[in-house]
Symmetry: C2
Amino acid sequence: YKTLVRVQDLTPEKADQLIWLRARVHTSRAKGKQCFLVLRQQQFNVQALVAVGDRASKQMVKFAANITKESIVDVEALVRKVEQKIESCSQQDVELHIERIFVISQAEPRLPLQLEDAVRADGEGEEEGRATVNQDTRLDNRVIDLRTTTSQAIFRLQSGVCQLFRDTLTKKGFVEIQTPKIISAASEGGANVFTVSYFKTSAYLAQSPQLYKQMCICADFDKVFCVGPVFRAEDSNTHRHLTEFVGLDIEMAFNYHYHEVIDSITDTMVQIFKGLRDNFQTEIQTVNKQFPSEPFKFLEPTLRLEFTEAVAMLREAGVEMGDEDDLSTPNEKLLGRLVKEKYDTDFYVLDKYPLAVRPFYTMPDPSNPKYSNSYDMFMRGEEILSGAQRIHDAQLLTERALHHQIDLEKIKAYIDSFRYGAPPHGGGGIGLERVCMLYLGLHNVRQTSMFPRDPKRLTP
Amino acid sequence: YKTLVRVQDLTPEKADQLIWLRARVHTSRAKGKQCFLVLRQQQFNVQALVAVGDRASKQMVKFAANITKESIVDVEALVRKVEQKIESCSQQDVELHIERIFVISQAEPRLPLQLEDAVRADGEGEEEGRATVNQDTRLDNRVIDLRTTTSQAIFRLQSGVCQLFRDTLTKKGFVEIQTPKIISAASEGGANVFTVSYFKTSAYLAQSPQLYKQMCICADFDKVFCVGPVFRAEDSNTHRHLTEFVGLDIEMAFNYHYHEVIDSITDTMVQIFKGLRDNFQTEIQTVNKQFPSEPFKFLEPTLRLEFTEAVAMLREAGVEMGDEDDLSTPNEKLLGRLVKEKYDTDFYVLDKYPLAVRPFYTMPDPSNPKYSNSYDMFMRGEEILSGAQRIHDAQLLTERALHHQIDLEKIKAYIDSFRYGAPPHGGGGIGLERVCMLYLGLHNVRQTSMFPRDPKRLTP
C-alpha cells in the first residue's frame, strides 16, 4: 500500500518529494489549460494544480475540473515550494503539482449548503451579496455543516472539556460511575419527564443522575463523577434549552463543610478553563474568526457571592425582587454584567439560595431555615451548574419530600438508601453544551450540540 | 477543623500518634469491659478497641457497643503497633485505642443483608450453615451490596476500563463525540426498540450510536469514539443481556483495508487488558477471592480467525451447521473452548461473517457476496463486540436497505449523509459490562452493572 501524507504535514521540508494524499476537493477552478484545486482535510488545506504538460494530459485536466466539490480524491503529486505565501490556505508555503488523481467517493453536484457560506461571520461579505446559512439549514444538513473549520474546532474543544473534566477528577481520587437512564420514578418530581414504554409497564428517562450518584455515595464510593445524557421534557424553545444534553455530574462525601464540595467543583472548572486556554488556542481562535468574543476571564480562587449579596447588587441596579424569589434569566444576565464590572470575572459561584426555590433533597441552611446550602455557578452570566449539599438523613428527607408533595412510595428505594449510614455529601451537575457555548462566547446551545434535540427537532 | 486520617494510611509509622478518623462500623463485639470494633473505609479496615480505663468510662464502652453496624463514626484514637498480625483486617500491623467516639450517621439496626454473607464464596462456610445472599436480595439492596470489597473492586476496575479505552484512543488521534439517545427512527430496524412519548409525537431510544458515529465520519472527524448508554427492548432473561448497557463505540475512516480497523480495535483491547493486569491486580485478586477464575489470557498480535475456519473447527467437534448459519450461543462457547485449547487465548476475532446474518449497512465481501467484511470479538467464548466495514455509497446502501425491507423514508437523513463524499470506514461497539464480567471470569452481567435493567427489573 501507498503511504498517505497528511495535509498538515505538507511543509517546505517535503519540497520536491512525490507524495500520495487523500483529501476532499474543497474548491475547484479551471482556467485554460490548468485546474486549481484546494484540497482539504478537516481544518487544513493546500493548493493543488493540474496543468497540461509533461505530467498531465488535456483529458486529465478536464477530468479534474469536473470532480464535484466535497468529493474525496487520492492524488499523487509533487510538493513544490511557492515564492509567495498562499494566504487562503492553511499550508501557505507549498503547493501540489498533481500527476495522478482518483475519485474515491463522489459528492453529488448540488450541495445543500456551501462551506464558505457556513463559516462566514455575521455581516461579512454582505455588500457583495454573499449568503450566510441559517440555523435550520445547518442542522438539517449537519453532516456538511460539521465539516466547517468552525464546527471542527467547536467539537474538538468539546472533546477536550470532557477529557479535562475526567482527568482532573480522576487525579482528585474520584471514581467514574455509569448510572441508568431508564428509571421507574421521576428523579426531580413528576414534571418535565419523558415516558418510555417498558414491556408491559412504563418508565421514565432520567432528568439527572442525581439519585444514583447519591446512592453511590451511600455505597461508599466516596467521590464519584459521571458523563452522560440527561433528558428534560420541557417545552422551552430558547437559545439555551435542549431536551437532551450531556451532563457532567459530580457527587462527593465531605468532612466538615459543604464548601469543600464547592472548592472541588470550582477547582475542576478552573482546570478546564486553563486546559482550554493552554491547549486549544487554535480552536478558540478559529471559532472567534466567525463568532468574535472576548477571552474568557476567571479568578483564582473562584469568586463566591451569597444570594443575598446578589439581590442587593440587583436592587442597587434598580431591580425589584423579593428576598426569596429565584433569579429570572434576565436578572441572571444583568447580575453577570454587574459581577464582571465589579470583579472582572466571567465565572463565579452564587451560594445560599432560598430553600423554597430548590429541590426537596436540598439541605436547609442550619442557621437560617429560609435559605439552603445550595449554589449555582455561572459563565458569562448564564447558569452552567446547579448543586447543593444533600440531605443525608432519611427522616429529614421524608419530611422535605412530603412538604414538596412527592409520592413517597415512588422514591422509596432512594430514601431507603439513607437508612444504613450515609455521610454528609454534596455535588452538582454541569451542562456540557452550555459550558462550551459560554466559554466560546457563542449564542446558541445548538451550535455546541452535534445533533441537537429540542421540542421541534428530532432529526437528523 | 480536625484532620481526618485514611484507614489505608494507618501503618506502624503512625504508632503512638493520636489521630482522628471517620469510618463505618464494620463489626462490633462487646466483651466484658471492652468493645472491639472493626472500622472500614471502602476496601480497607482496621481493628479498634474501647476499654474501660484511663481513656474510656464504662458508659462509653456501653455506648460504643450499642452503635449499629454500618453506622458512620468519628473517632479520636491512639495508634498502637500490635505484636501479632491481625489477619482479618487490611491494616494488620496496628490497632486503634479509642478515646472519643461520635456517631455521624446511624444505621438502622436491621440490615437487609450482611456484608460478610455478601462476600462469601460459593460453598464456603456451608458446613457451618452460613448464608450466602441471592442475586435479587443483592440488587434490591444494591446500596449495601455495593459496599462489599468485591463490588468496590468490580466498579473500580470498570472505571479503569473506561479510562483505558478513552486514553488509548485519544493517543491514537480519536475524537470523543456525544450522540443523541432520543432518535426519530430505529437505528437497527424496527424490532427491540423502546418507544418514548415526545411532546405530541413519539420517538425511540437509540439501540446504538451506529448511524451517528458514521455521520461523524462523513463529517470529517476521521476517527471517533463514544461511551454511553445503549437501549435494547429485548425480552431476554439471560446471564448476559441487559435492556440498558454502556456501549464503548469506535468508528474510523481507513485507507486501504478494513483490517486497519480491526487492528485499531484489537490493539485498544490489548491496551485495556494490559492496563488492567498492570494497575488493577488488587481489584482482580479481591474479586477472585469470592469468584475464583483463571487469569485472562491474550496474544499479541490478536488471533484472527475466519468464519469458515470456525465452522470447520465446530464441525470437527461434531456440530452440524450450514455455511451461512450464525453461531448459536452454545456454539460460540464451544468455539471459545476449542480456540483456547488450540491457541491458548481468551480473546480473538472472528472475521468474515455470512452477509445474511449481519445488518443492512454491512459491506459485502467484494470477492464473495455470501460473506461480508464484518467481525465479532470474543472474550472467554462470549461475544463482546460486533463490527464491520460499513457501506459508504448511498446507492449500495439503498439497495441493501430495500433488500432488508427497511422503510427508506425513515432512514433518509442517514442515507443522505453518504451523498456528499464519504470515506471508506468501519468500527464496532463493545459492551462495557460484558468486558468486565468476562475479564473477571464472572457469570452474570448484573454483577458488573451498578443498577442493572432487565425486562423484570427497573429499580432501584
